[in-house]
Every structure is written in C-alpha cells, then in structure tokens.
C-alpha cells in the first residue's frame, strides 16, 4: 500500500486579468506525509491553499497553476507521470471527494451512470462484466446508506447530503488506496454532517484506506483524523497529533482557531465571544442582561405560504414571537426550517398569510408610503450574506449613506456615516469611505452592512446568519459588536443562526425552529442546558466539539 508524500511542494497561480493579483503563491514549500492506512486532516483559514494541495495529488490543477517539488504516491512522482499512466492512477489509486458535491456531479447524467463510468474506465477483477458493474453500483450505494434506486436519479433530484454521499460512493468505487475528502461536510446541517463524518470514519477503518481530509473546522477534523496539519497563507504552520494540536496548539493561529469554538454550558463563553475588542463598561457583568419588558415587535399566529404554479408550501407555521426592548433573541434551527422567511416577514419584506398578526409597537406593519418609511427607520435587517448585500459598485461611504438619503436625513450626512462606521468598529472611518466591497475582508463587509443599518438609527435589528460565512476569528468580532451595541444603544436584536454555540455566546432568549414551527422557546440557559424538545436535543448532541471528538 502506497503512502502519500508532499515534498517541498509549492504551487503558484498566474492570473491573466487585472494584474491586481498577478502571481498567487497558493501553496508554499509544503512537506507532509500521509502514511499508508493513516488519517491526516488539514485545517486552515479560507484561501490558505488546502484545496490546491489536494488537487495536486491527481494533477488536476488548472492550466494556470505551476507546481514545484514532488508529490509522491508510493514510489512514483505524480508530476512526472505520462498522461496515460496518470489516467491509470486517477481514481484507481487515489480518488477525491470534491469540495461542493453540488457542482461536482454532471447535471445531465444520472448519478448511477456517473459511478458506472468510473468503473468502466478502471476495469478490475471485481467488475469485469456489465452486470458485475451494476451490482457494484448497488453495493456502493448501500455502503453509503442510499437506496439502490437512487442510481437512476439526476443530481438535482437529490439533497445536498445525498449528493455528498454519491460523491463518497463514487470515490470508493474503484477501491482506491487513498481518499482525499475536501470539505465533505460544509453546507450541510449539523445532523447530516454528523452522519457523513461517522460514515467516512467507518469506511476508512473497515477498508483500511488512507484518508486525507480537509476542513476549516477543527472539531470536524478532530473527530475523523489522527493527525492534523494547520495551514495558513499557503504554508503549513503546524502538524501534529490531533489532540495535541487542538488543545495545546503551538502556533498562535492554531490557538485562535481552537479557542473560537464556544462551549455550550461553559460560563466563560456565555455572553462573551472571543474578540480582540474590550467590552464597554456598561455591561461589565456578562451575566446580566439589560433586557426590559417593553414589547417592540410581536407576532401572533404567523404563517407564510409560498405558492408556485403547481404546489404551495408553508414555510412558516403558526408562529408566536415577541421581541422586547434590549433583548437579543436567537432563532436557531436547521437549514430550510423557515428562519429567513420568518425574519423577512417580521420586517415586512414578505407578505404573511391572512390571519397572521405582526405588530410593531402595538400597530400593524405599514405597507406603503410614509408609514413604511418611518417603520424602516426603526427596524433594520442585516441580510444573510454580506457580500451579496453590498452593491459591488458603491463605496462603503455610499452604501452606508444610502439609508440616510432614502430616509431624507437632514443632518450632516458625512458625520453620521462616520459615526455609523465607528459604531461598527471600522475606525478610523475615513479610511474606509472610498473602499469598495471587494477590497474588504468578509468581516469588514459584514460590519459595513451593520453600519448601514445602524446609521438609520433603528430600535430593532434583525440579523440573518451574521457570521455563518466567516471563519472563526472574524465571527467573534461581529458578535462582540452586537453585544456592545446592545449595551451602549439599548438596541434589540433578532439573530438568526443554525449554530447553537452562537446562541450560547450572545442570546438572552432562544427560539428553536423546526420545519416552520417554533418547537422550543425560552431563556438561553433553559433551552440549551435543559432542552425539552427532541429536535433541540438532537441538535445539541450533533454539534461537533473538540472535546467530544477527542474524548
């Protein structure tokens, strides 16, 4: 059985357009070894070269990539193989589960055909005949817990988790010795994520395959790999035993990654996200919440149904919800459970079903004209994806000022914008005025959106997954900001997330949503520490933690 060795591998991309980026050194001088039958995890921030490294194993890098160093599979250097030899190596010796299974399957062929194709290309004793191959497809699908009938499905007919499993089945098809899994669980909700991880671990141990797994989430790696390497900026900054790296990381970045995971039930992280900022004095006692009893927003019997030509779907069913002044309410739930829909309805972007009641300060939501504009002044929403929420052509200044202009703000616009940016901790604000979104990091973009919302001076902020797209260090910053704003400005907030740890980090109250229904609703401690509903319990148990992984 071969092992996989990277020997002083460097990979640079040449980019033609723009010249802004020019040559990108995606991977720099990496030395790594995956022993035969072993498991190795690679973690690191987004863009640190993880996928690039993975692709180099099968020489799948795009044409503009240049590789130096050696990639050894057993005794052969992959970079020196002839094309024919390389094709023979691909999939038969090493296979890959690509990042984003969604796009890795050909949309116009059935998944069965696509698995078959691999078998046809690498005919082995086990599947010499057509019938044997079909048999093997069935067998593979069973191995990944899918009914064999699914072979006739087209990719779009499968859920994300199912597609991910098809990819895994395909990777196993030719009985390779090495499997590379690139972020096999991103975009999956925690419960599915747990299933997939368990399955991979099981297959690896059962079949004695070497596994190279990539993720930006330490806890995910910790649960599947014996060794972990940490990458940053194209370099491996730390390699070691999984437990070692997770709990006693040497490199500051490793520690930062490890620390960013809140531990539910740990008082140290309660209302205290990891952040570089020092919190204001007003809330020196993190256990104390400035929440009042004054009801700001109220929903009773709220339902939302989407109608399409052929069918209608109720995304939100009969929800009762209250947001008080100074309260931070976390709305958690699995993907597609209706969180965004509920939030959009609460701010009047979505029409609820007749009979639903949504009241702001005791009055029905205005629908148009002056009333609507006045309402917008009081209730602002931060949309799910900060990158999409900023017009790429407008500067930070213009984006923040947009609300003021729309609201016919009479004061000094410039001063107000500066104030908004300062509130959002983008200081000095002048430095950011002329920047356009693509020049900002994810966290900065998110804060610009928040600054834009805050500049209008709202009483209630509805923030939809404000940190989902951020890596561990950036998310702490944003959460810290929310808390400090609540402390300083008495703001109320409805924060949407599918991450329970986040709720533990900042929320006063938690509502758990499941298939459009709020199944559990109460103070954070009560819901998270003494869950009543089965789904909440499931969520809590599926949430990966480093402790659990190592234990």
């Amino acid at each position: 059985m071969p092992d996989l060795r990277f020997e002083d591998v460097s990979i640079t991309y040449r980019t033609a357009g723009g010249g802004v980026r020019g040559e990108i050194a995606a991977v720099r001088g990496v030395d790594l070894t995956l022993p035969a039958g072993g498991t190795l995890g690679i973690a690191g921030e987004s863009g640190s070269g993880k996928s690039t490294l993975a692709m180099s194993v099968l020489r799948l890098l795009p044409g503009n990539a240049q590789l130096t160093g050696r990639v050894m599979v057993g005794d052969t250097d992959v970079t020196e193989l002839s094309f024919g030899e390389l094709r023979a190596l691909r999939w038969a010796d090493a296979s890959i589960v690509f990042q984003g299974a969604m796009h890795s399957l050909n949309p116009v062929r059935t998944v069965g055909q696509q698995i078959l194709e691999a078998l046809e290309l690498h005919v082995a004793d086990g599947w010499k005949t057509e019938a044997a191959r079909r048999e093997r497809v069935t067998e593979l699908l069973r191995a990944v817990d899918l009914p064999p009938l699914k072979a006739d499905s087209y990719p779009h007919e499968l859920s994300g988790g199912q597609k991910q499993r098809i990819m895994i089945a395909m990777a196993l098809a030719c009985e390779p010795e090495i499997i590379i899994a690139d972020e096999p669980t991103t975009a999956l909700d925690v419960i599915v994520q747990q299933q997939i991880l368990e399955m991979i671990s099981r297959l690896v141990t059962e079949r004695g395959i070497s596994l190279l797994m990539i993720s930006h989430d330490l806890s995910v790696l910790a649960s599947a790999c014996r060794r972990i390497a940490i990458m940053r900026g194209g370099e491996v900054v730390e390699v070691g035993d999984a437990l070692e790296v997770c709990t006693r990381g040497q490199h500051p970045y490793t520690r930062q990654l490890a620390d960013a995971f809140p531990t539910i039930g740990d008082p140290a992280s309660r209302r205290n996200p990891v952040t570089r900022r020092t919190r204001s004095d007003a809330a020196s006692d993190p256990q104390q919440s400035p929440m009042t009893d004054e009801v700001l927003l109220e929903a009773r019997g709220l339902s939302v149904t989407f109608h399409s030509r052929t069918k209608s779907a109720r995304a939100v069913k009969d929800v009762d919800l209250v947001v008080r002044r100074g309260e931070i309410l976390a709305l958690v739930g699995q993907s597609g459970s209706g969180k965004t829909t509920l939030a959009r309805t609460l701010v009047g972007l979505q029409q609820p079903d007749p009979g639903s009641v949504v009241r702001f300060r005791g009055r029905d939501l205005p629908r148009k004209g002056k009333g609507l504009r006045a309402f917008r002044k009081e209730v602002q929403m931060v949309l799910q994806d900060p990158t999409a929420a900023l017009n790429p052509k407008l500067s930070v200044y213009e984006s923040v000022a947009e609300g003021l202009r729309v609201q016919h703000y009479r004061g000094d616009e410039r001063e107000r914008v500066a104030q908004g940016l300062t509130d959002a901790e983008l200081t000095p604000p002048e430095d950011f005025f002329t920047a356009i979104p693509q020049e900002l990091s994810g966290g900065q973009r998110q804060r610009t959106v928040i600054a834009g919302a805050l500049a209008v001076g709202p009483q209630l902020l509805v923030a939809d997954e404000p940190v989902a797209s951020l890596d561990a260090s950036a998310r702490g910053e944003i959460l810290g900001l929310l808390l400090s704003l609540r402390d300083r400005l008495g703001l109320s907030a409805l924060v949407i997330t599918h991450d329970l740890g986040l709720a533990w980090n900042i929320a006063d109250t938690v509502a758990v949503m499941y298939e459009g229904v709020i199944v559990e609703y109460g103070p954070t401690e009560q819901v998270l520490l003494r869950p009543q509903h089965e789904y909440t319990r499931q969520l809590l148990s599926a949430a990966p933690t480093i402790q659990r992984a190592i234990a």
Partner: protein, 347 residues
C-alpha cells in the same frame, strides 16, 4: 435588425443559465404555457400584419395606371376587383377571415389566392433555409465546441477570426460576389433559380439539378449565419469548461476528448439550443436577400416582389407566415430544451 449580434450571446447565456435553475413542472402545463405564449405572439403578429401594411402608401392601381393605357372605367373596375373600394373595417374583417382560412386574400400582382402562392413557395424556402440552418448549426456547433475547449489556441483563433469576419459581411454583398465569381466568371454553378429551365425528369437527376442550384445560396447563408452558432457554442463551452463536474470526470481518468464529448458538450448544448433557435429570424432575413440575388423561387423572393408591388395581401401573407415559422421554431426549441435538460423535465 437583420443580424442579431452574435457576441451578445455570452450575455444571453447568463440568462439561459438562470433559466436552467431547477424548475419542475409537469409536461402538460409546460407545453400549455409555451403554447399560450406562442399564441399570444401569433395574435399580435396577425394584428400587426394588418395595420402595419395598411398604412403602406401606394395604390397598386395607381402604379399600374401610370404605365399603361387605361380608361377611368377600367381603373374603377380594377379597384373593385382588388377589393380596394371597401371600407377599412370591412377589409379588416376580410383579412381576419382570410387569415383563419389560411387564405390571406388574393394577391394583387399574381391574381391568385395568397395562401396558394405561399403554399407553392413555402417548401422551396424551407428547403433552402432548412439546409442552410442544418449545415450552419452543425458546422457552428462543431467548430464552436472545438474552439471553446481550447480558447486562444491556433484553431480557436482561426475559427473565431473567420467567423467574425464572415459575420461582418453584408449577406447580399457576399451573395453577389459569389454569383459573379462562381456563376458568371467560373461558371461552376448555375446563376439562379431552383432547377434548370427544363428540369430533368429522372428523379436522381432532378435532385442533382436542385442540389447544383442550391450550392451558392446555401454557401452564402451558411457563411453569414454559422458565425453566430460558433460564437454561441464557443462561449457556452467556455462557460462550462470550468465546471467542477469536469474536474470529477478528469479525476476519474477520462481522456480529454471524452471529457469534452461526454460531459462538457451535452451541458454546453443546453443554453446554446435556445439561442440558436432565436437566430432563426436572422436566417429568414437572410432568405429575403439571398433568394432575391439567386432568383430562388421562395417566400423571400416573394416578399421582395411584394414590396415592390406593392402587393399588400401577399406582403401580409409572407409576414404572417414568416412570423409563424419563427414562433414555431422557438416553440420547438423550448421542447427540445426540455428533452435535453433533465432538470426542467419532471423528475
């Protein structure tokens, strides 16, 4: 107008891309909605067919009387025969009735029912434009996918360059040059018409005869039109080229040309199909000029003559028929699209 700009395809691709978002509808409701859209367009065409041409100046009788010795009584008689003395609403009612009986009234010039004339010429035009369309599409798709697979290669540069140059050529001008060179000077091909004046009776010889007459017009139309298809297919394949599933296919150890043929092309075809059929309109515009230059007895030539007539019922007829053809081909495109793309089909 006559030519839809090919390079905008790339932009349009973006749109058809969004059309491809999973959207399942039942075959019947899909068909019905497409048919409904086509019917609305057709109704608008029919209305426009009357009013647009009604405002055309020129009384056919006045034109005749300017050249020929006619007495006032004869002129009045002619006007009655052409139905020109009826009030407008009556003419409109007649027109609508005519359209629905596929009759379109009687041609002023040919003194025959327009429906009959169009029936005589329709298949000639379909033969010419159909052949050209098939050749142009086949050539365009083939060159386009080759070029798009290796953008910037010598093959791509030559193919795209040729396509762009040919696309910039006015159709009628190219037709005329070809006529001069290959018809007049070299005398390789007949200079016009669809058959020899005395068509051979032997079926095979007749086919050969027609084929010989088709060569120049088909070359002209293909040359001007295929460029659009090359560009559509090229852009479409380039768009597809970076798709992740191609990496998967490669990782499985597929040969490069198999990756292209089995995975990239079938996907790239999807947006291309819609766009190609949109260009059928351009082909028909080409038919008018090409048929005129090469004296091809088809609807295009008929249209050209109807303009110089002015032969109002004939013009209305060809206009409605041309529009109907385009609408029908677009409908076909939608249906083909549905067959090609499993995501639009019911799961």
């Amino acid at each position: 107008m006559t030519n839809t700009v090919p390079p905008t395809e790339e932009i349009l691709l973006a749109e058809t891309g969004s059309d491809r978002a999973p959207r399942r509808t039942s075959a019947l409701s899909y068909l019905l909605s497409k048919l409904g859209g086509a019917a609305v367009s057709m109704a608008m065409v029919i209305l426009l067919g009357f009013f647009a041409f009604k405002v055309l100046p020129g009384d056919p009788v006045a034109g005749i009387a300017r050249e020929r010795q006619l007495s006032p009584e004869q002129i009045a008689q002619l006007r009655t025969q052409m139905g020109l003395d009826k009030p407008l609403w009556q003419q409109f009612v007649d027109y609508i009735v005519n359209v629905f009986t596929l009759n379109f009234g009687e041609s002023y010039v040919y003194r025959k029912p327009v429906g009959e004339l169009i029936g005589d010429y329709f298949w000639n035009t379909i033969l010419l434009t159909g052949t050209s369309a098939v050749l142009a599409i086949a050539l365009g798709l083939w060159l386009g996918q080759k070029a798009g697979w290796r953008p910037g290669s010598l093959f791509d540069r030559i193919t795209s360059g040729m396509a762009l140059v040919l696309w910039s050529v006015p159709t009628f001008w190219l037709a005329l040059i070809l006529l001069m060179v290959f018809g007049g000077t070299l005398q390789w091909f007949p200079t016009g018409g669809m058959t020899s004046p005395d068509p051979p009776t032997d079926p095979l010889a007749l086919v050969l005869d027609v084929a010989a007459h088709m060569v120049l017009p088909v070359i002209t139309m293909v040359a001007v039109v295929y460029a659009q298809y090359v560009m559509v297919m090229r852009a479409s394949l380039m768009e597809e080229k970076s798709a992740d599933y191609l990496v998967t296919a490669r990782a499985k150890g597929l040969r490069d040309d198999l990756v292209r043929r089995r995975h990239a092309v079938p996907n790239a075809l999807l947006p291309a199909v819609t766009l190609m059929f949109l260009h059928i309109g351009g082909l028909i515009a080409g038919a008018v000029t090409v048929e005129t230059v090469f004296s091809w007895p088809g609807l295009g030539k008929l249209t050209f003559e109807a303009i110089s007539g002015p032969d109002l019922p004939l013009l209305q007829g060809t206009f409605v028929v041309f529009s109907a053809v385009i609408i029908a081909t677009n409908l076909v495109a939608d249906l083909i699209y549905r067959r090609l793309d499993p995501r639009v089909r019911r799961g």
